[in-house]
């Protein structure tokens, strides 16, 4: 659009600059104007659908993207919050539950440990009590009585025996066997005795009686010197009962191991009977080590003997160095945690589903109006300016839609005005184009015809049409009479023309013509009726003229005339019209000036032609007048020489020869000057006809042979056979060859002169070679100039006018051939002549 506007501006400014610019520029401008018009049209055609498509595609893409973006964002936000919440909750609940479980298990283990310790302590106490009062060596019966009572009081004790300080069994009371009194069995090497003596107390490893019941040997050393050792076999069924009764979940177990890791009690008695060693289980091993080293952590999760993962807790039975373990299979222990997880996950899934639905719904709610907005904007942008975006919303989107609707309305308005502007511009443009075309036509008319009347009529017709003027006139100005006279009229009645002719408008008149030329400016009369003083007012009003515009026709040298257009309705002329009329005026001035110049040139050339004719006539006359007396001189001389006037004295004969020689030289000069002047005047016309080269050469040879013979020079001819018939001016060609051969003979004193002729490539090639002195390089071109001879002192001796070669060269060129010389000093010269075999009649060439 900018380019279009720029060119429009160029168009309007072009009119004002036209006066100065050349007409070629005008036509170029017109062409560019047309091109710009078509470009703009095609651009407009291409532009619309493209833009529409672009907007559409962008709109839909953006709307879909927006929905996805919103939906993803909402789901990510809600879902992310839910997931993080669930993870945190699960993490803490797992930790808490595990700790709780472990605490419960540890409590159970500690409870069991306390019960077992109590049990062992009671037994120990009872044994101690039973043996405490008996001094060494007291009655066996008493001891037996005490032991029986002990058995009664402590059902777990199956057998009790007393070893004296030397390790000999003094008494043994048993529930299962006969009592033995003073058996004297030496048990001093038994560990129960040795260790009991050493550590006051001895606990044996668990052993089984009847392969079913676990037993333990408990040996306690009595107080006092030489005290014996009381050994009790304790049935551990009680501990087993304690352990078995302990409810640890569904599949959990409690068990007891001794300080070596051997299983003491376990609900599965088989394992105890197999003397299972659990010291290899990681938690058992660690717990055992912890009995000695407090800086240890026993893992809460470990593996049982079957390799199942278990949650484990333990408690130590301090005095016994036993450990109570409570193991719960991990799967069972963690079941509530898993249940809690499952609930959390279900809640999470529900939350996520809700988030997705809510996200989609919200995104939909947000994207739909935006999509509507995008589509609406695309339709408005695509040119549907009546489209309105329907969004019932009071938020920013609604505001935006309102803005778009408003914009559409505004656009529609501006489109409407734009169309008006385009229409206006188009009109202006076509008017400008029309003016340009008119100017071009006028300039073409000026260039194509010298008929001034026709040119001025054409200019005037165009000017009147473009200025909407009914009529007009072009006046020429006569410098001498200072009067204007009508050179061309348009749309003027015969009466008006006659009236104007009769008034002889003058420069000094108050008429617009006189005023405009006098002031060298444009004069306009907007309403003739309002100008009472205007000359010829009545005649013009009668001719229905109301407004007029006068433009002076000026050139650098002065006033050429005036240019005038007249309108039937009053009113001023637009500036563009005035500028246009100025252009036409300058064209008219140019045409008039051209015509005058042409007239002048025409006149001059006519005079020149007459002068030339006179010159030719003069030459012809002079030629004749000079020859006639010369003819008589030469004629008389020859008659006298031939003795027609009687015998002459030898001296007289010599004088006569000199008279003849000079006469002939003068004749040659006259002929050559005549020829040359004719050539220069372009009046030498070849009389072209068929000729035989052989004949021409023969003539030349027979004419020049006497000269050669006189100098005893051989004249040789080297002529190809079957030379074609030539076409040219035979006499002139002969003249040229005579000149060349004559020169050759003239300037050669010894040797030979050779004439060679061939026909090649459509030309006759002549070569006239001599063995003369040759021509210096510097002279080679100059010898073909008029009145030039190598050595002016030679001229008299050799004769010749110095015009021969110049004439010969011109004649050859008139035939379309060429003449040149090749020469070497002291060796001789060869004049070469190329002559077209078929020379065209070239007419007069200067």
């Amino acid at each position: 659009m900018t380019a279009l506007r720029t060119r429009m501006a160029a168009t309007t400014s072009a009119a004002s600059t036209l006066k100065r610019s050349s007409w070629r520029k005008v036509s170029i401008l017109a062409a560019s104007l047309r091109q710009c018009w078509s470009e703009a049209a095609s651009k407009a055609r291409r532009w619309r659908p493209n833009l529409l498509n672009k907007i559409r595609s962008t709109g839909s893409r953006r709307a879909g993207g927006l929905f996805r973006k919103y939906a993803t964002l909402l789901v990510a936000l809600v879902g992310g919050a839910l997931i993080i919440n669930a993870i945190i909750e699960m993490y803490y609940s797992y930790g808490e539950s595990r700790h709780a479980l472990i605490a419960v298990q540890r409590e159970k283990a500690q409870g069991a440990a306390a019960v077992i310790e109590q049990f062992v302590k009671e037994i120990e106490g009872q044994i101690g009590w039973a043996t405490g009062f008996l001094p060494a060596g007291s009655g066996l019966e008493q001891r037996r009585f005490d032991f029986l009572r002990l058995l009664r009081q402590a059902p777990a004790i199956t057998e009790v025996s007393y070893l004296d300080g030397d390790g000999r069994e003094q008494i043994r009371v048993s529930r299962l066997a006969m009592d033995a009194l003073a058996s004297g069995a030496d048990l001093s090497q038994e560990p129960k005795f040795v260790e009991a003596k050493d550590k006051k107390r001895y606990l044996s490893p668990v052993y089984f009686r009847k392969e079913s019941e676990p037993y333990l040997t408990l040996a306690i050393t009595g107080t006092g010197r030489g005290a014996g050792v009381t050994v009790a076999e304790v049935n551990l069924k009680f501990i087993w009962d304690v352990i078995s009764r302990m409810q640890v979940g569904k599949a959990g177990v409690a068990y007891v191991v001794d300080e070596r890791g051997l299983l003491i009690a376990h609900p599965d008695i088989g394992m105890v009977l197999r003397k299972t060693d659990l010291s290899q289980l990681p938690h058992v091993a660690l717990a055992l080590r912890k009995l000695r080293d407090v800086h240890l952590d026993v893992p809460a999760i470990s593996q049982d003997h079957a390799g199942h993962e278990v949650l484990t807790a333990y408690a130590s039975i301090g005095s016994l160095n036993w450990l109570v373990f409570v193991d719960l299979p991990l799967s069972e222990a963690l079941q509530p945690i898993y249940d809690s997880f499952r609930r959390t996950i279900i809640v999470l899934a529900l939350g996520l589903a809700f988030a997705v639905l809510a996200g989609i719904w919200l995104a939909q709610r947000m994207a739909v109006p935006i999509r509507a907005l995008a589509e609406g904007a695309a339709r408005i942008g695509g040119g549907d300016l009546d489209h309105r975006i329907e969004i019932q919303s009071s938020d920013e989107v609604g505001t935006l839609a309102d803005s778009f609707n408003e914009m559409g309305g505004r656009l529609k308005e501006s489109y409407a005005t734009l169309e008006q502007k385009v229409t206006d511009r188009t009109l202006e443009l076509s008017e400008a184009l029309d003016r340009l075309r008119a100017l071009i036509e006028v300039s073409q008319a000026i260039n194509s015809t010298l008929e001034l009347r026709a040119v001025l009529a054409a200019i005037l017709a165009h000017a009147c049409r473009l200025a909407h003027a009914g009529g007009g006139a072009i006046y020429t100005f006569d410098d001498v009479t200072e009067e204007f006279s009508l050179a061309a009229t348009h749309g003027m009645s015969a009466e008006l023309i006659e009236t104007i002719r009769a008034t002889h408008p003058r420069l000094s008149d108050s008429s617009p013509i006189g005023q405009s030329t006098l002031t060298r400016s444009v004069i306009q009369v907007a309403d003739l009726a309002a100008e009472p003083a205007y000359p010829l007012r009545e005649a013009l009003l009668r001719a229905d003229v109301r407004a007029l515009l006068a433009v002076p026709l000026l050139r650098e040298e002065g006033i050429i005339g005036a240019f005038m257009v007249r309108r039937r309705r009053p009113g001023t002329f637009d500036q563009t019209i005035i500028e246009l009329m100025q252009s036409f005026a300058s064209q008219s001035a140019l045409a008039i000036q051209n015509a005058r110049l042409f007239q002048e040139i025409d006149e001059k050339s006519r005079q020149l032609e007459v002068a030339s004719q006179h010159k030719s006539q003069f030459l012809a006359n002079m030629s004749h007048e000079l020859r006639t007396p010369l003819n008589a001189v030469l004629g008389y001389a020859e008659l006298m020489q031939d003795g027609l006037y009687g015998e002459l004295a030898p001296e007289t004969k010599q004088v006569l020869e000199r008279i003849q020689g000079n006469g002939n030289h003068l004749l040659g000069l006259i002929n050559d000057v005549l020829d040359l002047s004719k050539i220069e005047a372009g009046q030498l016309v070849l009389s072209v006809d068929d000729y035989s080269v052989e004949n021409v050469v023969q003539t030349v040879v027979s004419t020049t042979e006497p000269l050669a013979a006189a100098k005893k020079l051989p004249l040789k001819v080297d002529m190809s056979k079957d030379l074609p018939v030539g076409q040219g001016d035979e006499r002139r060609i002969t003249q040229v060859l005579l000149n060349l051969v004559g020169n050759a003979i003239k300037f050669t004193d010894a040797g030979e002169v050779r004439i060679a002729v061939t026909a090649v490539n459509g030309v006759f090639a002549f070569a006239i070679a001599d063995t003369g002195p040759g021509i210096p390089d510097a002279e080679r071109d100059r010898i073909f100039q008029e009145f030039h001879q190598l050595d002016s002192s030679n001229t008299k001796k050799k004769g010749g006018t110095g015009l021969g070669l110049a004439i010969a060269k011109r004649i050859v060129e008139l035939h379309g051939g060429r003449l040149w010389v090749e020469s070497e000093l002291g060796e001789g010269s060869t004049f070469r002549l190329e002559l077209p075999i078929r020379a065209e009649e070239r007419g007069a060439v200067a």
Binding site: R627, T628, N631, A632, E638, Y645, L667
Partner: protein, 124 residues
């Protein structure tokens, strides 16, 4: 019988030279100073040859020749044009007018005599 030559020539010197040359060569001569007289003399005297100058008063050589050659009785008389119109095309013009031969001025008396003898081999 002596052959008679009509000389049409307005220059006295030329007439003298021709008269001298041709009478010595044994021809009878009659002379005219212009074309009109030349034609009249040709009619009255019936010469055997006419030497015709071209630039002549009253009636020029071309016209005189044309008149002679258009007369059936005179047509057979050879006409040699003697002219100083040495310009290109003069010979053609002379021949077009009916001249039988052409001698350019300045003529060599010897050459002219040779040309005359082509037409009138014996002087008489």
């Amino acid at each position: 019988m002596t052959k008679c030559i009509l000389i049409v020539e307005d220059q006295e010197d030329n007439r003298i030279i021709l008269r001298r040359l041709l009478s010595k060569a044994g021809y009878d001569l009659i002379e005219a100073m212009n074309g009109e007289d030349g034609v009249a003399l040709a009619l009255s005297k019936r010469p055997d040859l006419i030497l015709m100058d071209i630039q002549l008063p009253i009636v020029d050589g071309y016209e005189a020749t044309r008149r002679i050659k258009s007369n059936a009785e005179l047509r057979s008389i050879p006409v040699i044009a003697v002219t100083s119109y040495a310009l290109s095309g003069d010979e053609a013009k002379a021949r077009a007018a009916g001249c039988d031969a052409y001698v350019a001025k300045p003529f060599s008396p010897r050459q002219l005599l040779a040309k005359v003898r082509e037409f009138l081999p014996t002087g008489g």
